[in-house]
Symmetry: D2
Subunit: 427 residues, 4 copies
């Protein structure tokens, strides 16, 4: 199914008077503070967050899954779902594919299908953390780090194949997330595993088209429970530095030990010109993969405060990072979850844009912690929802995406089309 | 397959001279310290650790599974596997069943089969954290805590059915582990959920035979990532207190927040007469379900130090706790993993038995932290492996269980019997 | 010094037009949602947060202190400082004393002095975690839990003395925070320590006036680094239950292990009628004692969401909890820090009051996690600063307390009066 | 006081027959496994662990201190105390000074005094985390990272002065630990703070004698509770890489977030040739600074397993690391604590030396996690205390250092000499 712009308009119109009033009030407030609402709206509209293809189905834990219905059964239907989201929020104009779950058949048809939804192809993702039915060698004990050179070669070849598909579709980056590691003290030689990983990544990097980037993800644990080869940003940065100028670190919000200051990592990476991209989600305990902003919205804002500072720094050597959601929707309707995530991310971005940076730097230079806190919290406490809504409205999208999604009974329609037991590939 | 005692003897004999020497040396050392080796051996032999039926197959994570071969395909084969383990270590004389994965068909035949392996039936476990194919109502949003009374009733009925099966087999306890909780702030009413859980547990408690116990497990997170209804020992203890004298708290080592002092919880529960049982495993990050003693052997010893102190306290009102392993074997052969776990547990128990308790109490009374540490570490640093081996030897089991298991090529034999692709039920 | 209401009015007047506009807009929005702004303002005004006497000086860490100037040198000056804060925010109408740091000399004079600032005396706090110069026996190895009955008696006597002082001043509660515990495995007998603590608390409870409450605080670690006798809410609740109806658990936000769901603890305690009081602060790593709301404002809101739900429940058997800040001001001016804390607490309270509880319960009953999140975040994202400011305005306090504090150069004045090197007693 | 070798011998003689028997048994066992006891003894004797001057007094927490008696009142007495420790364990042949706490007066006299105890001067430590009475500018808001160039210069100058003292005494390394950071979101500009720190370190590095090393320590939090400029090994490594070949990362065991895999960090740093030194201690919650090996002896062993592997790797470009204890003795007699720490470290080192590395690598190559665990635990479970004791015996030190320390009533003697209220400088 596709959502007609008229359907959205009709529902928007109901809330329009109220929105107009709220936006006008906010707009005046922002202008008084020296902010330009039009410019803010433009930045919000330009900020597009890729949707990963696997996030369109119901996720699960090792204890079980409770699938909903109407899940996409093919790459085309996944593109349709992202198209639906993008139609509603005008902020999700890209899809991030996962190989082998999303191997495109007819490349041109797939590209045309995406284009019809105004979608681009973001970074492609390889998978060497699972065994596929037809796979010759197992990744049970690692892939790029494996003790057996044949397994490493198989994993390198897979990544090269992923690049090939991505290249055909117009992607410009490869994201490498590795489950490689060990669960028991003694099981693996830390140094050899890291050296093998570096060598394998070099082989992949060799195959990277000259206008591509490689994103190296890190994670402290899970699915291995003692050691992960790329356990932290330091290790990822070490690898990226040794690989070359087109290799970068990718930050996934859920991939940190308890209490990590993630915003500081973001700042350090941007300072080194090595922040490649971002996986958004939220968590309380580990890699919980919950809706972005559902648990720690202030932390999300603080992270964006660094991102904005880095992006607006004219001397920065960091290229514009790639933005992607990476969450797992175990209990919520995946599309509603994604709509909530994108909105929370946009909110944090907008709040960060509203920080009075000159005043903040002055307070910092004066070591005035009280004032610095006031300045940050002033931005955070400002209710910017009308601004985000206006950005959507001006882009012909929904004032309240979740509300429109529900009013139009999208899920019901999808269940009718695809069945109540359809099952998306992925986690 | 079954292991013949002669096979074990033959392999034991190779290592016997070396063992005799080591044991004699240790035996003298212990005697000098005022310990009675025979008494220690008797206690080690009496200490039987139940094997859960689901631990005999390869486990996995949400990212995938890498099954090994020769996994048990039926309840009978699971009993066979525990029988094999018990034949090798003489310390695993019980099996803990999980319903609905292990519903016995012919009760008498199953009992006779277990008896032929000298196995008892330990606590039975209910499952309301997954949906079964034929299940009417879903547990997606909880079971005993559910907002819908019908779901709660279904979960209560399931527990009563589990009791029924257990009763027929000779079990004397029901273990209730609940995944119930929520993943998002606001999703669930904490108070109603706890009240519903209490009411449901009361209904189950009503159906408990008079010589049974009920064990209420706790866990801070996973599979829910914001709130778990029974999040900690305090909540479990609250419920157990309100249920009655036959309700107890069960401690699973992996079910705690980072840095929790678990041994103190054990001490407090025993002091209240409310420690019902124990699930052994080890972990570094969360509920990693690794081999007991693989990560933090000193912590395991400290826990046993409390258990022994509680069990040897003549004024204690705590009944003897039930012992069970609860681990997930993702990378190791499940039976080798279980053999290592049992050995590590026995070691910690034996070390705790060797603590000079009179000297320890004197040091404590004098607030002599240096001496208290010396006393504990003296016990921990003593190499008690010959004592454990001797306990096995005297029980006609293997001096080195894993070695014998490998020498006899048990797994290879099981693969031949059951196939390389057999898949055990469970996680 | 005292702040004259006219001084506040003068500064308020500058911002009044802007405030009027903001408040009117917000007021309309709230009314549209069915909320009564006047009622909200009344509740905010009724919500008084006690200031602890030790929070008025610069705190420190074990690595050092960097004192500011103008710190209060006596109980009278501490009362003056709380008076200043209360004059500015009209929300800090009580002081919480700490004995022996604040032993009152002339009781009637002290009472009159506090009354002249419109201040009440909140819970009194005992100190058995430090040795005082004239103290006979040391608390190095514990106080109420000590192995030596004489030390326990000394600590009990101290608590009884604290009650005596509090009673004379009009306090109605005793807060007991114990550092008691051990830093090395083996050092202390967990069970004896807990039993001694219970017995000592019973002796103190005996001396409690009939209209008093006793608050039992818990904390997992620091200053002891292996075990704390009252390590968690479960232990505190156990003790409070055994002590009697006037004993309650006190929650300090910084006293939890990483990732603890504190709001759930709050809900459980209120459900049992055992939540006695609250110590507000914020933290990222441990008991960091930072400004309330500076780190995790959403968590603070979620906690208030439970508090409001509990307080508004007509069937609740929980008495109104006592509110107090407990923070340590190492880098900020203590009074500015306290003003920021009170404002953040009021904000979280007001946001929780604005939650649409009927809609929330409906969403919960329907297991609609998406909607439940929307409802909570709607309240959290609403900019309620004008409401808080209006509540202050109507109480003749400052629209912007920190701003007025700075405009009036309060600290400078205090330094002039008290000197640049005055040092408050406390941490 | 000094301990006469005859005093030690006399006490040793009591335990000698028992020791001889134990050592002979162990020696045979080790020889059977292909290990050379003499070589092991030589390595243990060569492994010298520096004692920091500040660890000889009673430490404290922010909540208070409970000083013992007989603490060293001067640099000379600190050297005496290390001399006593070294006389007892023959494993603490160096002292690590802290400036300004230990500014030497008569350099030659101090050197001669240390030489008379057979002590060397290990790395010197600077202090820019506290304000000294005569200090012009405050470090309240940082030192090398400070916004004010004058404060940075003062801190640089201090470090250069520390080098000067160290150079005169024969030290060959400077350890820089910085408390620099912030406690509130917004307070500090992460990037500027890091850049300032780098620039300041460069200025210090310029002043480093050509045969010196610089060790850059990292720590995630405390005394700042939101952000530390050098928060992790990645940041320290980044700085050390940019500084030059003589700059290295220093690992303090207590300076990590919960659950960090420290042994992996050690392996990675050695692989990069950037592990400069080690601060030993143990902890459960944070930087608890407890006796090494008191809490997680298996982790300590796993760390040494990496250290030994790195040190025995002939292709390693990592220079031999510097070893130092860094602990805080709040409850134990500092010297007893240090004796226990050294013993635990030696034990872990010896256990790591006993790992069958060839078999381990074979198991790893075969991904045999069960066997790899057996190999590690075989080494860990072996009771090597007689080997450590023999190493001491052959070096004319005590078989049981703590026992001899107590038998000789060293503390009592020191109290007599120095008084019961003497107070060492330091934390």
């Amino acid at each position: 199914m596709r959502i007609d712009k008229n359907q959205i308009n009709t529902i928007n119109n109901r809330a329009l008077p109220d929105h107009r009033e709220s936006f006008e009030y906010l707009s005046n407030k922002l202008t008084t503070k020296g902010l330009d609402p039009d410019q803010l709206i433009q930045k919000i509209q330009d900020f597009q967050i890729a949707i990963p293809s696997w996030a369109l189905g119901t996720g699960g834990t090792r204890f079980g899954r409770f699938p909903g219905g109407g899940e996409p059964r093919s790459l085309e239907e996944k593109i349709d779902d992202v198209g639906l989201i993008h139609a509603l929020n005008a902020g999700s104009g890209a899809i991030s594919l996962h190989i082998p779950w999303d191997i495109p058949g007819d490349i041109e048809a797939v590209k045309a299908h995406a284009a019809s939804h105004n979608l681009l192809f973001d970074a492609v993702n390889s998978n060497t953390f699972q065994d596929q039915p037809d796979q010759e060698l197992s990744y049970k004990f690692g892939s790029l780090c494996h003790t057996d050179a044949k397994v490493r070669q198989q994993a390198v070849d897979h990544n090269l194949e992923v690049i090939k598909y991505g290249d055909q579709l117009g992607s410009k980056a490869l994201t490498v997330w590795l489950a490689d590691g060990s669960s028991f003290p003694g099981q693996m030689n830390f140094r050899k595993a890291l050296q093998n990983t570096l060598d394998s990544l070099k082989a992949i990097y060799q195959g990277l088209p000259s206008d591509w980037k490689m994103f190296v993800e890190y994670k402290p644990y899970e699915p291995n429970f003692y050691h992960t080869v790329i356990q932290d940003w330091g290790t990822s940065h070490l690898l990226a530095s040794q690989l070359g100028d087109r290799a970068f670190t990718l930050v996934d919000l859920g991939h940190h030990l308890p209490n990590t200051n993630i915003e500081q990592i973001v700042a350090t990476l941007m300072m080194q010109g090595k922040l490649g991209g971002f996986h958004f989600n939220d968590s309380k305990f580990g890699d919980d993969d919950l809706t972005a902003g559902a648990m720690k919205p202030y932390q999300l804002f603080l992270i964006f405060n660094e991102l904005v500072e880095g992006m607006e720094d004219k001397n920065s050597k960091n290229p514009p990072p790639a933005w992607m959601i990476d969450a797992s929707h175990n209990l919520k309707d995946p599309m509603e979850d994604l709509l909530q995530s994108v909105e929370a991310i946009q909110m944090a971005y907008a709040q960060a844009l509203c920080v009075d940076r000159v005043a903040l730097e002055n307070a910092r230079e004066a070591n005035d912690a009280v004032l610095a806190q006031e300045i940050l919290q002033n931005a955070f406490r400002t209710d910017l929802r009308p601004l985000i809504a206006e950005a959507r409205l001006q882009a012909n999208a929904a004032l309240s995406p979740v509300e429109v999604y529900r009013d139009l009974a999208v899920r019901k329609q999808l269940v009718k089309e695809r069945g109540a037991k359809s099952l998306a590939t992925g986690l």
